[in-house]
């Protein structure tokens, strides 16, 4: 319970806020709305998952929250900074120091060793070589790969690569780790290890973790799950309120997940889209 109290304190401060975020893609003459006004608050120290079927706008929201995309209308605040107002230099600064990125395909720079991959963001942040090497080794140790620091990505397994990627994401002590399907290319056991590692980072460093995932294991580690459907916020669920039985999910993960989720959702203020979803679920 002590842990819960600590978390609640952390969760009072928002690290990412979206306000009526709308995104319209123009394809030729056709305007395709990807997001239809999403208001969402992500609190510091949270472990949050964004869920939704493909084409739901999940990726768009995820990229928006990670400072990789700008809304057509509405605003995204990362650390109370309106992303839309940032120029290229400020965006680079934000990505370098405030956000750590983890990818489904790991995306280590192939020509660089594990340590060099971890120290690259520190170099971009202006850290000296010695400082960054020390911190890089410290982070590699944390993810359990200190002895592999000189290995090139192709000499590492998928799980090891993702661990290096987590160390790299933590390089500049970001407020947010943005993880896009971090277990998508990993087997079950390795996926579990990566989730555990992310959880540990969340617990120990207090870093906010935002993931987009289909992985039930991931959902079980999350504090909250944000469901997106047709460009709108479908519902937001707390982990305490749902019961996820990993292993009982069969077939289509999306349908399967919905089938195993039950319980009440927390109605987030200003989430117009959550109402019909609640009705549907109840």
């Amino acid at each position: 319970m002590a842990e819960d109290t600590k978390k609640t304190e952390q969760h009072t401060q928002t690290v990412v806020r979206t306000r009526d975020v709308t995104k319209i893609y123009t394809m030729g003459k056709v305007k395709v709305p990807a997001l239809k006004g999403i208001t969402l608050q992500i609190y510091a120290g949270e472990y949050i998952s964004i869920m939704g079927p493909s084409g739901s706008g999940k990726s768009t929201l995820f990229n928006m929250v990670g400072g990789l995309d700008k809304p057509t209308e509405g605003s995204v605040y990362i650390d109370e900074v309106d992303v839309a107002q940032l120029d290229a230099y400020e965006l680079a600064w934000l990505r370098c120091r405030k956000i750590g990125y983890i990818f489904q395909t790991f995306n280590l720079i192939g020509v660089m060793s594990a340590l060099e991959n971890v120290t690259l963001p520190m170099t971009f942040a202006g850290m000296t070589t010695d400082e960054s090497r020390d911190k890089g080794m410290f982070l590699l140790e944390k993810v359990g790969l200190a002895d592999r620091h000189s290995h090139k990505p192709f000499e590492l397994s998928g799980g090891q690569q993702q661990r290096v990627a987590i160390a790299r994401a933590m390089a500049n002590s970001p407020s947010i780790i943005l993880a896009d399907e971090p277990t998508g290319n990993l087997d079950l056991a390795t996926g579990k290890e990566i989730i555990a590692l992310l959880g540990a980072m969340n617990q120990d460093e207090g870093v906010t973790i935002i993931t987009a995932t289909h992985d039930i294991k991931m959902l079980s580690a999350s504090n909250r799950i944000v469901w997106i459907r047709d460009g709108s916020l479908d519902k937001i669920e707390r982990r305490e309120d749902i019961d996820i039985e990993v292993g009982s999910v069969g077939g289509d993960s999306e349908g399967g997940v919905e089938a195993t989720l039950r319980g009440d959702q927390e109605g987030v203020p200003g989430t117009a889209a959550s109402t019909p979803a609640e009705e549907e679920n109840n």
């Binding site: 990726s59 990229n63 990789l68 995309d69 650390d79 109370e80 900074v81 309106d82 107002q85 940032l86 120029d87 290229a88 230099y89 400020e90 965006l91 680079a92 600064w93 934000l94 990505r95 370098c96 120091r97 956000i99 990125y101 990818f103 489904q104 395909t105 995306n107 720079i109 192939g110 020509v111 660089m112 690259l120 963001p121 170099t123 971009f124 942040a125 202006g126 790299r168 500049n172 896009d180 399907e181 998508g184």
Partner: protein
């Protein structure tokens, strides 16, 4: 939240990315080349070829210029001159027009033989000059549709044109850079020719007639002091009788026996004259005539007379155009290869941007990578181009001294080391600049790539 507080918050929470780690860019670029070694080699091969071409042309030019800068009083000058002419004659652009003025008697045997002989030689276009004064003057003054005549071979003056205006036209022809080859003296004139005309002709040749005839034997010629472009084989010169002449200022004896000069050459105005003062009527002396033709005095004199023409542009505009074209093709090739490389590396570029790389950093990365490739390719190109050209030059720039029989490797004797280094450096820089220019567009394409590209899952 109003805009004021937003501004305050913004100041507090955000900075501007300023770091451009150049050494890191160099490191990544270098490693990228290493890891994609064969791809880099293929990308670079365009530069290698283009720079090899450029360097080979520079090498040719530098060696040719080195030979051309050999002073006339240098002991190797005659050999150098012959090599330059041989080189020039290999160039298809050079055509020497040789006009033959036929002997005055009806047979024209000598003229025909000369014609036949010269027509068998590459780059020499020989033709019989008209025997009417007016068209002959037009030819001499370059007032015809044809390319101007370079060399006039005088075997005799037909009676009709032995007049003052023709002589003036010949003088004008030589003054304007033409070459005049004169074989014999007494045989040239019709019997009723004016003595003043003969004297005008002598002054054109810059020789002074001394009333005397002497005989030169084949043995004697071996001890003669002679010099002209190395192709003449003096040792086979048959026994013959010569008129005595002495050289005036403007002319020099190029072959001399104890009794007197047997060949004179001189500069007159911008042109040259060569004079072999054979005594009597030439028609009978077919041995000497054949020697003049076959053993090289006439061809050598022709070349010698046309040497300004043969010393013409080392680097013709056509070649420069070809070089420019090959460099442009090279730019397009590299741009294409780099664009492919950029599209393939979308994830790497996107990831780097997610990690805080500025657009400028990405641009630098690709420009540095390309300049490395350019430097390596240009270096290889310089070596390949130099070696290919040098091996060819080494063998074509050798000449045998007809007197001593020694073979002289003129390319080594006049090795233009400093110039070669300078032009190698120029080629190297051109190679680097070319590949950097070629990389500008791909680099900007890479820099424009959005960081969200890193999220793409499909390859």
């Amino acid at each position: 939240m109003n805009s004021d507080t937003q501004g305050l918050q913004r100041d507090k929470n955000i900075g501007r990315q300023m770091v451009l780690p150049l050494s890191k860019a160099v490191e990544i670029a270098w490693k990228s080349i290493k890891i994609r070694f064969w791809r880099s080699v293929i990308t670079t091969s365009g530069i290698v070829l283009a720079i090899a071409f450029l360097m080979s042309i520079f090498t040719d030019t530098v060696f040719n210029n080195a030979l051309r800068s050999v002073e006339e009083d240098h002991p190797r000058y005659p050999l150098v001159e012959s090599v330059i002419q041989e080189q020039a004659l290999e160039d298809e652009d050079v055509v020497i027009r040789v006009g033959i003025l036929p002997e005055h008697d009806d047979k024209n045997e000598m003229a025909r033989e000369t014609l036949r002989f010269l027509q068998g030689r590459a780059q020499m276009l020989s033709f019989l000059l008209p025997s009417e004064p007016s068209p002959l003057k037009d030819e001499l003054l370059g007032q015809t549709e044809m390319q101007p005549m370079d060399v006039m071979f005088v075997a005799g003056f037909p009676g009709r044109i032995s007049e003052k205006t023709v002589m003036e036209a010949i003088e004008a022809f030589v003054d304007n850079g033409g070459a005049l080859f004169v074989l014999g003296y007494e045989n040239l004139w019709p019997e009723d020719v004016d003595q003043n005309l003969k004297n005008t002709f002598l002054s054109l040749l810059s020789v002074n007639l001394e009333d005397d005839v002497f005989e030169v034997s084949a043995q004697e010629i071996e001890e003669t002091d002679h010099r002209i472009a190395g192709q003449v084989n003096w040792e086979k010169l048959p026994d013959s009788k010569y008129l005595s002449f002495s050289a005036l200022e403007g002319s020099e004896i190029i072959a001399q026996t104890q009794d007197g000069g047997i060949a004179f050459a001189g500069k007159h105005g911008d042109g040259y004259v060569c004079f072999v003062p054979v005594a009597g009527q030439m028609t009978g002396d077919s041995h000497l005539f054949r020697w003049v033709l076959r053993e090289g005095l006439l061809p050598a004199s022709v070349l010698w007379g046309a040497r300004d023409k043969l010393r013409g542009d080392v680097l013709p505009a056509r070649t420069l155009w070809l070089v420019a074209l090959s460099l442009m093709v090279c730019v397009v090739g590299i741009t294409n290869a780099m664009l492919m490389s950029v599209t393939e590396r979308f994830r790497e570029i996107g990831t780097m941007k997610c990690l805080g790389a500025l657009d400028k950093f990405v641009i630098r990365l690709f420009l540095i990578e390309s300049s490395f490739q350019g430097a390596a390719g240009a270096l290889a190109g310089v070596l390949v181009g130099f070696l290919l050209s040098f091996i060819r030059i080494l063998f074509s720039f050798r000449a045998q001294d007809v007197v001593t029989g020694d073979m002289h490797w003129l390319a080594l004797e006049f090795f233009p080391g400093v110039d070669l280094l300078i032009w190698a450096l120029v080629s190297l820089i051109v190679g680097i600049i070319i590949s950097v220019i070629a990389a500008i567009y791909p680099a900007y394409t890479a820099a424009r790539m959005e960081p969200v590209e890193a999220m793409r899952v499909e390859a």
